[in-house]
């Protein structure tokens, strides 16, 4: 049976009317809720969107992520404002399950915010949503964290004087083999959700609504493994990772940029983001003995316990082991965090994801870590840690190939606010 495309649409429309009519029978006429509840939906499934800080930093890590860097193709300050308004409108809607709708078109740009009325598309339009998540878009704890790179503050938009004072282009470190196509960018979006389809849907929605003004530069999807069998998730080297991480209680001292730190006023409430795309040479790693692996990391592979402890939550006691008899002096955990009073302000909030892609030119697996960390001051924190790791024996088994330095914008505080409003107004 041949059904024309138009007939199919008519039938679908009729069906929708029918359903609405049925719903009205035998009860009060009611407005359709902005979105229906779907399986797995619960009160905890929404990461709050409005606030002084962006979500996706202190938010407990969702299982899936995408890190997507963009360059701004728009050329005028006005067009740049439209980009951030569109980003705000889309993120607000996606992260809140349609609670806010697409919002009125504040930008004046039909392309960036195509729907004047969120409930109706212009005549003849293709469907506004990809359908990847079905008709009822779940929130799935989606967060979209928007950061800007140093290149956004070049001559194009007249922002040079407003650049966060500690924002620079990521340098090349000694063990790096950086590939230009995988580095830097005007913008970095960190999209996280509990499920991979939600991340994909959000990225697809955002790229669609910013098409022509924001051009993707590179992107990499990541995941966090479930506890195996318990405790912190394992990375692709088989070791529990992220055991020692600052908590929300440390955020004022370590993460958020507050007033009085010499940063421009607009930056208050933001944080510096470092993204490093780190390939793991998993074949090589699998070819060394367990005792060597454990000595390199400084933890037991099975339990995650530091080599001087018995449980993953044990705090290594380096004072009792000054010669490295149990935990070698150059073990990764010892170099990264020596746990002294002097090293406490260097700590970073890590929020990394595994990545697992295709094959390398030599036929090996392309897999590793999307390292992501947040901090007040990249030099004081990430770079200090990174320099301590210059002679880390682990470096032989990893190969950083991309990433960049970014500044995660302050939060969007109200339904009237938008990303970078204070920067661009």
């Amino acid at each position: 049976m041949s059904v024309s495309r138009r007939d199919a649409i008519k039938r679908l429309t009729a069906g929708a009317v029918g359903a609405a009519a049925v719903a009205g029978i035998g009860g009060e006429p009611r407005h359709l809720a902005p979105r229906a509840a779907v399986a797995g939906d619960a009160a905890g499934d929404v990461a709050p969107f409005h606030g002084p800080h962006q979500a996706g930093v202190l938010t407990p890590a969702q299982r899936n992520a995408a890190f997507a860097a963009f360059d701004v193709a728009a050329t005028s300050p006005g067009a740049l404002r439209d980009v951030f308004r569109a980003l705000t409108a889309r993120t607000r809607e996606l992260a809140s399950g349609g609670q806010y709708g697409a919002g009125p078109d504040q930008s004046g740009s039909a392309r960036l915010a195509p729907r004047d009325d969120p409930d109706q598309s212009p005549a003849g339009s293709p469907p506004p949503d990809s359908g990847v998540l079905g008709p009822d878009v779940p929130t799935d704890r989606l967060t979209v964290t928007v950061s800007v790179g140093a290149s956004l503050f070049d001559e194009r938009f007249g922002l040079a004087a407003r650049k966060p004072v500690r924002l620079a282009t990521m340098p090349t470190f000694a063990n790096d083999a950086l590939e230009p196509d995988w580095c830097h960018g005007d913008l970095m979006l960190q999209l996280c959700a509990d499920n991979a389809d939600t991340v994909h849907h959000a990225l697809r929605d955002i790229t669609r609504h910013t098409r022509g003004a924001l051009q993707p530069r590179y992107r990499l999807a990541g995941f966090i493994s479930p506890p195996r069998p318990s405790g912190a998730a394992r990375n692709l080297m088989g070791f529990k990772d992220g055991i020692a991480n600052p908590t929300a209680a440390d955020a004022t001292d370590l993460v958020w940029v507050g007033a009085g730190r010499g940063e421009p006023d607009w930056a208050t409430g933001g944080t510096y983001q470092v993204v490093r795309l780190i390939r793991m040479l998993t074949e090589f790693w699998d070819r060394i003995t367990l005792s060597e692996q454990e000595a390199i990391i400084g933890r037991r592979r099975d339990s995650g316990a530091p080599l001087d402890g018995t449980a993953e939550t044990d705090v290594p006691d380096y004072e009792r082991d000054p010669a490295g008899a149990l935990i070698p002096l150059d073990a990764h955990i010892r170099l990264a965090n020596p746990r002294t009073t002097a090293s406490a302000p260097n700590r970073i909030l890590r929020r990394g994801y595994n990545y697992d892609g295709g094959l390398l030119a030599n036929g090996n697996l392309d897999a590793g870590l999307i390292f992501c960390c947040y901090q007040q001051d990249i030099r004081r924190q990430f770079e200090t840690v990174q320099n301590r790791l210059a002679d880390d024996p682990l470096n032989d088994y990893i190969r950083p190939f991309g990433g960049g330095y970014f500044y995660a914008l302050p939060g969007v505080v109200s339904p009237q606010d938008w990303y970078a409003r204070a920067l661009l107004s």
């Binding site: 340098p171 090349t172 470190f173 000694a174 063990n175 790096d176 083999a177 950086l178 040479l281 074949e283 090589f284 070819r287 060394i288 003995t289 367990l290 005792s291 060597e292 000595a295 390199i296 037991r300 099975d302 339990s303 316990a305 001087d308 402890g309 018995t310 004072e319 009792r320 082991d321 000054p322 010669a323 490295g324 008899a325 149990l326 070698p328 150059d330 390398l360 030119a361 030599n362 036929g363 090996n364 210059a390 002679d391 880390d392 024996p393 470096n395 032989d396 190969r399």
Partner: protein, 415 residues
């Protein structure tokens, strides 16, 4: 690119000779436990050992670890079963006398059976936990030194232990390797001189050929993973980790010459680079005995030379125009063979099947590489047909899996 040194596998390579003797010293006489742990494997035994260590040390205030050693010790009359035996040396961080009384009380409180309690100058307190058969001892020979020893009941380990290598055996292997390296470096010095002549004479084709000859001789040295430290960076460094990449002044040596020869650099600019290479090489030759990697690193190189080839030469990371990735890999096969020859007596004594398998794997790799040779030289890896490329990658991967068996076989002292 600075290549960090892979961990010297076992930091406490100190008293390797003493190890065998010391085994007796801290091995705790063991009898079958009344209630042997039904599920005890090596990993669980390690966990329990860590727990006993931590518990015990927590009751002796003011101690610091100075050394540790673990090994699998065969159980008499129980073929295939071993105890996990661990020893920890500790010393006080102050002049206060070491107070062991709390340990004695604690173990009594737990109901451990006291096997030996010798007071006095050579004191030893040895207990057994009747619940799981673990034995723990604290012994003191001087006021400044305590030894804690923990021994598991007999268990079947994840892999049978191998006879520990004596440090003098590895030192002998290292001397042989050093003689081999010295010969290669002497040849390299002649080749760098020839390279200088060719570059100075302005004959590009001759200079390129002279570069390749020298580059391959360096590969024969087998200088993988940070062997020769700063000299390796100077002689064969890569630009990837440098802020200005190929334009960085710290990018020097053979690959820098390659870059110049394939990027139209005039002789006047290349000659100082070749001269610096010659000077760095001369300094390395002058200090070779100190610069040769320590004996404990030698077994690691059995697979690391070709791990390097896989990571760098077959991904194009070390190709600055010469397209020599396959030639370099082939030279790395030679270097690996030379190293295996040096290690052969030690490996054969422990696993006689390993080296024949390794040589077979290397032969297969050599054949796959030869098949990719063109009339006058080598294809660049990127120019290979998928079928040829696949054969090389497969042969290299297979050889590496076999070669990776060498380091664990030649352990000196477990940590």
């Amino acid at each position: 690119m600075s290549v960090p040194t892979r961990r010297t596998m076992f930091a406490a390579a100190t008293a390797v000779l003493a190890v065998a003797a010391a085994l007796g010293a801290f091995l705790l006489p063991h009898h079958a436990p009344r209630h042997p742990h039904p599920m005890l494997n090596e990993s669980r035994a390690q966990e329990l050992t860590d727990g006993y260590r931590r518990d015990t040390v927590a009751r002796i205030p003011g101690l610091r670890y100075t050394d540790s050693f673990r090994s699998l010790v065969a159980c008499p009359a129980e073929p295939g079963r071993y105890t996990l035996s661990s020893r920890y040396d500790l010393s006080p961080d102050s002049a206060a006398p070491i107070a062991l009384a709390a340990v004695r009380g604690y173990w009594r409180h737990l109901g451990y059976r006291i096997v030996n309690d010798t007071p006095g100058q050579n004191s030893q307190l040895l207990v057994e936990n009747p619940g799981d058969g673990f034995r723990i001892s604290v012994s003191q020979r001087t006021a400044r030194y305590v030894r804690l020893a923990i021994t598991s009941p007999c268990l079947v380990p994840a892999a049978p232990p191998v006879a520990l290598v004596l440090s003098q055996d590895l030192a002998t292997a290292r001397e042989a390797y050093q003689r081999y390296v010295a010969g290669q470096l002497t040849q390299l010095a002649r080749e760098v001189a020839a390279l200088r002549t060719a570059v100075g004479g302005g004959a590009l084709a001759r200079a390129r050929a002279a570069w390749l000859t020298a580059q391959l001789t360096w590969e024969h040295v087998g200088a993988a993973y940070g062997s020769f430290g700063e000299f390796a960076d100077a002689i064969d460094g890569l630009p990837q980790g440098l802020p200005r990449g190929t334009a960085d002044a710290r990018f020097t040596g053979l690959h820098r010459v390659e870059y110049g020869l394939w990027h139209g650099e005039p002789a006047a600019r290349l000659l100082p680079i070749v001269d610096a290479l010659a000077a760095d090489l001369a300094r390395l030759r002058g200090t070779l005995p100190q610069e040769t990697p320590p004996p404990t690193d030698l077994p690691l190189r059995a697979h690391e030379i070709l791990e390097d080839a896989q990571r760098d030469h077959l991904t194009g990371l070390t190709d600055f125009g010469g397209g020599a990735g396959l030639a370099e890999t082939s030279a790395d096969v030679d270097a690996t063979e030379a190293l295996l020859d040096v290690l052969a007596p030690l490996v054969d004594a422990r696993r006689p099947d390993l080296l024949p398998a390794a040589h077979a794997g290397l032969d297969a790799l050599r054949q796959a590489l030869s098949a990719a040779r063109t009339g006058g030289g080598w294809s660049a890896p990127v120019a290979l047909s998928p079928a040829r490329r696949l054969r090389i990658d497969a042969a290299l991967g297979g050889a590496l899996e076999t070669l990776a068996g060498v380091p664990g076989l030649l352990e000196v002292a477990g940590s």
